[in-house]
């Protein structure tokens, strides 16, 4: 075949002098440009360091009781620095406990949300795309889960299985599947009417490919956003399960557990519940702001916001 057509209809393009930046450099530079995202990413990185190292470094300090220091107030400089955020009802360092608890918290909340996102998301894609029985069954199951009392679910799991971290994750994940399923499905209902999906179908693309290559990327921003918000919820709900004897039990700790422990002291020692609550809030916020940044960099139509410096 000849290639006889001269390149036409293309506007002039002034190439920049230096080589085109690599994709990675591109992302880094757009992260550097968005200060909010950068701070969020930095905070998340710190949390991850705590997750990795916290328990090895501070496990003993987090458990060391001192009933004399009970509910010691924060920002008192005559105590060791670990007590800078105050002490809890058993006189343990709130700071050390927050750091040590990060591992369990992120493990549980992260896995639970991720599981429900993946499962709920995948089922939502299917429910939105496939009409008829499959969709109806999935949706009615979701309805059923939505109205199944989660506490009963927890108690059942407790009686049927051995209590353990895996079960906490299971209970949390199951109860949060419907929201992802239904959100994804709603988006898919609209997306599947788009012409580019029809195009892919006409090319012979498998349902699987259409779902994951064409539909999922369009749904992802909303879902990731939602997942970041779910993290906060799951962190707090998880502590409720500890009180049933399912999952995390002292001396293991999570932020949610710390918050609930502090519940009784809100009036007398606000810091016991406040700091872990604040950390949960900050993590949620960082995840969200970071995911907002992510959605912009992954959306070609929006990406310019982060690439052109505002000159």
């Amino acid at each position: 075949m000849r290639s006889s057509i001269h390149a036409s209809g293309t506007a002039e393009m002034a190439r920049p002098a230096q080589a085109t930046p690599s994709a990675l450099r591109d992302i880094v530079s757009s992260l550097l440009r968005d200060k909010v995202a950068l701070v969020s990413a930095a905070f998340l990185a710190i949390v991850l360091v705590c997750v990795a190292l916290g328990p090895t470094l501070l496990a003993d300090q987090a458990r060391a009781m001192n009933l004399m220091q009970r509910n010691a107030a924060p920002f008192s400089f005559d105590r060791p620095w670990l007590y800078i955020l105050g002490a809890d009802a058993l006189g343990r360092s709130v700071l050390a406990r927050i750091i040590v608890a990060s591992q369990n918290t992120i493990l549980i909340a992260g896995t639970a949300v991720l599981t429900s996102l993946v499962v709920g998301g995948a089922l939502g894609l299917v429910a939105g795309f496939k009409e008829g029985a499959v969709s109806a069954i999935l949706l009615r199951l979701a309805d059923a889960i939505m109205s199944f009392p989660s506490l009963l679910l927890a108690v059942i799991v407790l009686f049927v299985f051995e209590p353990g971290v895996a079960n906490v994750i299971l209970v949390l994940a199951i109860s949060r599947v419907p929201i992802f399923l239904r959100t994804v499905r709603a988006e898919v209902l609209e997306l599947k009417e788009r012409l580019f999906v029809t195009s892919a179908r006409a090319m012979g693309a498998s349902t699987w490919r259409i779902l994951f290559r064409h539909v999922a990327p369009m749904v992802l921003p909303t879902v990731i956003n939602l997942a970041a918000l779910e993290m906060a919820f799951v962190m707090l709900v998880e502590s409720g399960l500890s009180f049933l004897g399912i999952g995390i039990q002292p001396p293991e700790i999570t932020w949610g557990l710390m918050v609930s422990d502090g519940r009784n002291y809100i009036g007398s020692a606000w810091w016991v519940a406040f700091w872990p609550g604040l950390v949960i809030m900050l993590v949620t916020m960082s995840l969200n702001l970071f995911s907002n940044w992510l959605r912009v960099v992954t959306d070609p139509v929006e990406r310019w916001r982060l690439q052109t410096s505002a000159e």
Binding site: R63, M65, L67, R70, N71, A89, L90, G91, V155, L158, F159, P163, S242, F243, L244, G245, Q249, P250, P251, D261, N264, Y265, I266, G267, S268, A269
Partner: protein, 483 residues
């Protein structure tokens, strides 16, 4: 002349308002001695009984008691209070169709019947001698014969100074003064009972004047000594030890466990500083309490030494022990078990902590125990507000007791003998039982006799006592004159 109205905050709402359930504090605090009355009233301070609806009584044989009833008393529905109504109330309470707590808890295997001798005389007959029958009858609320048999009622009709008005599920119960009351007319005219499980909110309600009195607020919310009053609540906390299972089957290990818990350190921190260190399962107000026992000291070194000794003797002291708690058993009970577990770990115990939900906790607490269960230290809180050790000793320590972890022939005999005895003799036998269990067997780890904080609003003059664990006689509240 219009009287005063008060609002009272309880920690939990009632599920029914049946006179046969008055020993349960959620019900008793509202209706006992206010709406329904008993023949006999307990005087906790003096450990004796005083007349209420009965004017006097006598034991006519080891198994029969004769009660002379107060005359001229009327129920709220107008029917007269007489011997027949007492018989009716007893029969209704003992009806197996209902699971009245008065029956299940106090008249368990008692086999008691009543008979009206004349209008104002009742005779009670038991199969076996029942030396503390008056104490038992302090639990039996007398209700009008209009109260249906065989089903629970939500509208109690009694002889008390207050007439039941209404109960809105989840919201409130209202009672008002009964003008036809036989006794002295109380000052307070209307009372509304509401409930808040959040202690800080309950405390806030009294502080803002929305309520006049809040039962059992958490120690940390009891910040105002002017309004917040402490009273013993007849609850005793204790770790029950599975004394049959290694390593807890070794007395040295049990002793070490007792020595390793710094009980004093909890007072004034996690537990109220008004609580008392316990040496036995019943509190000082109970007949049979042994005042001569000395609380365990905190001695971690000796605990370690005992453990080492046991280990040398081949006791598997490294075996994991399960510490079982229950959230909300008492204020800060979670913190307490967490701290106690740490203390035990500190001397070398291997502790696994489980905070269980009620049903599971009961499975661990009650016989039949699970086959092959782990050695455990089970946190319990036992209340005995009947004033007699009988309701504790048997089921906690007798071989056949539902919660007993021990089977000691001497204990069994002591308990059986004490149950038959009365007066001094009875007290002595129970005291010996508790001494033996505490000093010789070291069967468990007694912790504290607990207290409650009650917040009493500025309008009210009232000092709570141990009686308020299960009742609150409105007649005893004094509304200060507005000045």
């Amino acid at each position: 002349q219009s009287g005063d109205a008060v609002t009272i905050v309880l920690p939990g709402g009632p599920d029914r308002l049946d006179p046969c359930e008055t020993p349960r504090s959620v019900i008793g605090r509202i209706i006992k001695q206010n709406v329904v009355e008993t023949l006999v009233e307990l005087d906790y301070a003096k450990q004796t009984t005083i007349p209420r609806l009965a004017e006097s009584w006598e034991q006519t044989s080891p198994t029969t008691w004769r009660f002379n009833l107060r005359k001229g008393v009327k129920f709220h529905d107008g029917t007269p209070f007489d011997a027949a109504s007492v018989v009716y109330s007893l029969e209704r309470t003992l009806d197996p169709k209902l699971t009245c707590i008065t029956r299940t808890k106090y008249f368990g295997g008692v086999d008691i019947t009543a008979r009206a001798i004349d209008e104002n005389t009742v005779e009670f007959m038991t199969k076996t001698p029942m030396p503390i029958l008056p104490t038992l009858l302090a639990q039996l609320a007398i209700a009008s014969a209009k109260t249906p048999k065989g089903e629970y009622t939500t509208e109690p009709i009694g002889t008390g100074p207050y007439d039941f008005v209404s109960w809105t599920q989840g919201e409130n119960v209202k009672i008002k003064r009964f003008d036809g009351y036989w006794g002295e007319k109380p000052k307070i005219e209307d009372a509304t009972y509401v409930w808040r499980s959040e202690s800080s909110v309950a405390a806030a309600m009294v502080e803002t004047g929305e309520a006049d009195l809040a039962f059992s607020i958490a120690p940390q919310d009891a910040t105002n000594p002017e309004t917040d009053k402490v009273y013993p609540n007849s609850d005793s906390a204790m770790f029950r030890l599975s004394a049959d299972i290694p390593p807890l089957n070794d007395i040295r290990v049990r002793k070490a466990l007792n020595l390793a818990i710094d009980r004093k350190a909890f007072l004034g921190s996690v537990i109220s500083d008004k609580a008392e260190l316990a040496t036995q399962q019943v509190g000082p107000s109970v007949l049979g309490h042994n005042p001569n026992l000395v609380p365990w000291p905190y001695d971690p070194e000796q605990a370690k030494a005992l453990l080492a000794e046991a280990k040398a003797a081949g006791v598997p002291v490294d075996t994991e022990i399960r510490m079982i708690g229950r959230p909300g058993m008492f204020a800060n009970s979670n913190e307490f078990v967490e701290a106690a577990a740490e203390m035990l770990r500190a001397v070398g115990f291997k502790i696994k902590l489980d905070n269980l939900e009620m049903t599971q906790w009961l499975e661990a607490a009650n016989k039949p125990f699970a086959a092959g269960r782990q050695a455990n230290a089970l946190l319990t809180m036992h209340d005995n507000n009947s004033g007699d050790a009988q309701f504790t000793a048997f089921f906690k320590y007798h071989s056949d007791g539902r919660q007993s972890e021990i089977h000691d022939a001497k204990v069994d005999k002591l308990i059986t003998d004490a149950g038959m005895a009365s007066g001094e003799e009875r007290a002595k036998l129970y005291q010996e039982t508790f001494r033996y269990i505490y000093e010789d067997l070291v069967a468990d780890a007694p912790l504290f006799h607990m207290v409650n904080y009650m917040r009493v609003g500025k309008r009210i003059d009232f000092t709570p006592t141990i009686a308020n664990a299960v009742e609150l006689q409105l007649a005893k509240l004094v509304v200060k004159s507005p000045s």
